[in-house]
């Protein structure tokens, strides 16, 4: 009854796509218009926090090694931390802008976790390739939320942040459990199921 791992990737990709759309819309209209309805500023931090919550069952049900458990567990923690910090800032419970450092931290931890928990080489299979690409993309893109800590109203950084989520979503949508990448598929990977 459990969905395949690739399906979980697609569901998280959809959440990332929505996150990107919310962030891009906020960047286009500006924070004042975005905050004209009380619920709207909670939208993307709430979604990030919810993704963190749903990462726990992923950790519990898709653990095929200790390193997978650590990777998914650390994602769940940093996603909830970053989403929770943004929720606190939106609500006014948190005042210091340094709480926004939780987002680059989440990106960095996610990137490292992607790279560490992928045990195979780049061209082993498509999922291995994408895990390497996603890891390095998350690590590099951590600079964008880091820049937003110091320049929160920079349109270029806000837009880049949103577009980053589109790119990450596209990569996750490309994920298949067993599929070739640029014609390469290790015989050890198994037989593609469809």
């Amino acid at each position: 009854m459990e969905p395949h791992a690739e399906m979980v990737h697609w569901m998280f990709a959809t959440c990332l796509l929505l996150l990107g759309l919310f962030l891009l819309a906020e960047a286009v209209v500006g924070p004042e218009v975005w905050a004209r309805r009380a619920w709207r500023p909670y939208l993307w931090p709430g979604l990030a926090f919810t993704m963190g919550i749903f990462m726990w069952p992923v950790m519990a049900f898709y653990t095929n090694s200790a390193i997978h458990m650590y990777a998914h567990g650390s994602w769940a923690q940093v996603l909830m931390l970053a989403g929770g910090a943004e929720l606190g800032l939106v609500h006014g419970r948190l005042q210091s802008r340094w709480w926004r450092l939780t987002m680059p931290l989440a990106f960095a931890v996610t990137g490292i976790a992607f790279l560490v928990h992928e045990q195979n080489t780049w061209y082993f299979a498509r999922s291995a390739f994408l895990h390497h690409v996603l890891g390095w993309t998350f690590l590099g893109a951590a600079l964008i939320p880091l820049g937003l800590v110091f320049k929160p109203r920079a349109i270029a950084l806000q837009s880049s942040f949103a577009v980053t989520f589109f790119v990450l979503a596209a990569m996750l949508y490309c994920d298949r459990d067993i599929a070739p990448i640029f014609g390469h598929l290790s015989p050890l990977a198994g037989i593609p199921h469809r």
């Binding site: 697609w10 796509l17 759309l21 819309a25 975005w34």
Partner: protein, 90 residues
Amino acid sequence: MSSTYVRSLPAARTRRSRRAQVISLLGPATIAAGFLWALLQPYRLTLLHPMHQGFWWLVTEPPLLVMVAGVIFALVVARPLLVDLAETEQ
């Protein structure tokens, strides 16, 4: 005096309309991207061959998920946001 207003209004309107245009396009563009993907890779749509497919294969179909994200954004976020944007700009 009147020339000042005449000069400033069109520029402001253009800026406003561009923001509104971008917001109103985001949802349909996402839906169109999902639709295009479905055309390019129809084998990723399990609904086209639904017999003997499990629950998850019928629920998680990437091109449809992209379209659903576009619909959610257009209806839940973009529509009220456009109203607020118009009110702010007035």
